[in-house]
């Protein structure tokens, strides 16, 4: 029990806090004071870390030189693994719009970057994507965490609006995408990267 991880999603601001089971008493206190939902985080750290390492191995095989983006609770392990790897440079940004522009500059300069962001950042940075990577025709591999995926279809008011809006927006902005499932990391990442190169446009791999 002590290794289990919980997430606290507040109704306001979508703040997430991950704590160990020993801190559950703190959960309860917070739950009483600010009316939050406490739910168990599915999946354990070691499994997520192994998956991140598999993803990073494929990125390196693809010749990725730079990773540009903003980590979240799902992609943080990918960033941590990449930061420890001298073959790839990690470029953290303040806002997702910068990631599209920096990655575009890196590609025009002859490098092979990847952008890693959350779907919320995708919604925030639409014009930056359009005005740089899309209009410049950058064959850019993108990894995006699908925040709220498990809330899709909930009718009790708990559906995360970013989840509801995410895929329709991806389609509206003409961003091709595929989902990454456990064990198919190599095939999906390579396939989407090939698609980006052949079509000369950004293409995304979605993490759920």
């Amino acid at each position: 029990m002590s290794s289990r991880i919980f997430a606290i999603d507040t109704c306001e601001g979508n703040m997430r806090v991950f704590v160990s089971f020993e801190d559950l008493h703190l959960h309860q206190a917070v739950k009483q004071s600010v009316n939050v939902l406490v739910r168990e985080f599915t999946g354990d750290e070691s499994r997520s870390r192994e998956r991140s390492e598999r993803i990073v191995a494929v990125l390196i095989d693809l010749g990725i030189t730079h990773v540009v983006g903003v980590p979240d609770n799902v992609t943080r392990l990918i960033f941590e693994t990449l930061t420890a790897d001298p073959r790839v440079a990690v470029v953290p940004v303040c806002r997702e719009g910068e990631a599209w522009a920096i990655a575009s500059g890196l590609w025009v300069g002859g490098c092979s970057p990847v952008v890693i962001i959350q779907n919320t950042g995708f919604l925030e940075s639409g014009d930056a994507l359009r005005g740089t990577a899309t209009d410049m025709g950058i064959p850019l591999l993108v990894l995006m965490d699908y925040r709220g995926f498990k809330t899709l279809g909930k009718t009790d008011g708990r559906e995360d609006s970013v989840a509801r809006l995410f895929e329709p927006t991806m389609r509206a902005w003409e961003m091709p995408y595929e989902f990454l499932d456990e064990g198919n990391e190599r095939a999906v990442l390579k396939g989407v990267f090939r698609n980006a190169v052949e079509t000369q446009r950004p293409a995304a791999v979605i993490l759920t």
Partner: protein
């Protein structure tokens, strides 16, 4: 400072191998001054993202100088970029902010903070160490060469007069200058190592 006098001074000081990224009020005047394959007009692109695009270029091409002529309104649209530049510093990058206090190409509406904002203090506060305020053509000519001898990234604020520059329009897809610049950067320069990674 007169915009054209400023840009002409910068043109005279530019090393022929320097990549120059322009946007908004500097793009069209610069195209009348310079005709280099290393010029990149960030036109029709996302406003506020010329400086971070230039940062990407600078990280990719560490042996080339990369200049970006940003507007003050454009800089405000992505102020976080200054922190991003300080976080992952490219010694070959120089960000010029041509400050006239207005969104000029849309009719000279004042930018937020016009009259009291200090880009110099913001850049320093963001963590950029080489920050300069060149408030005359003579200051540009006299001081810029010396300060660019040191590793950057550099931030240079240049006040210019407000004008009536219309919104620049690119006569082709943005893909064309992007792919052309990539190809130009792949070609070896005379007297230079053929690979910027150091592999000959």
């Amino acid at each position: 400072m007169n915009r054209l006098e400023c840009l002409n001074a910068l043109h005279e000081l530019r090393d022929p191998g320097t990549v120059v990224v322009t946007t908004m009020g500097s793009a069209s005047p610069w195209s009348g001054i310079s005709n280099s394959d290393l010029d990149f007009p960030s036109v029709g692109s996302a406003m506020g993202h010329a400086a971070d695009f230039a940062m990407g270029l600078a990280l990719a091409r560490p042996r080339r100088k990369i200049w970006v002529f940003n507007g003050d309104g454009s800089m405000l649209m992505s102020l976080g970029t200054l922190v991003t530049i300080a976080q992952t510093p490219a010694p070959n990058l120089t960000v010029f902010v041509l400050e006239n206090g207005t969104f000029e190409v849309t009719g000279n509406q004042p930018i937020p903070g016009a009259g009291f904002i200090s880009f110099v203090r913001i850049a320093r506060g963001a963590g950029i160490e080489s920050v300069h305020d060149l408030d005359s053509v003579s200051a540009v000519k006299d001081r810029l060469p010396a300060l660019l001898r040191y590793p950057g990234p550099h931030f240079v604020r240049i006040p210019i007069e407000a004008g009536n520059e219309p919104a620049p329009i690119l006569d082709c897809s943005l893909r064309i200058p992007a792919y052309r610049l990539r190809k130009t950067l792949e070609e070896p320069r005379a007297g230079e190592a053929r690979s910027e990674s150091g592999i000959l």
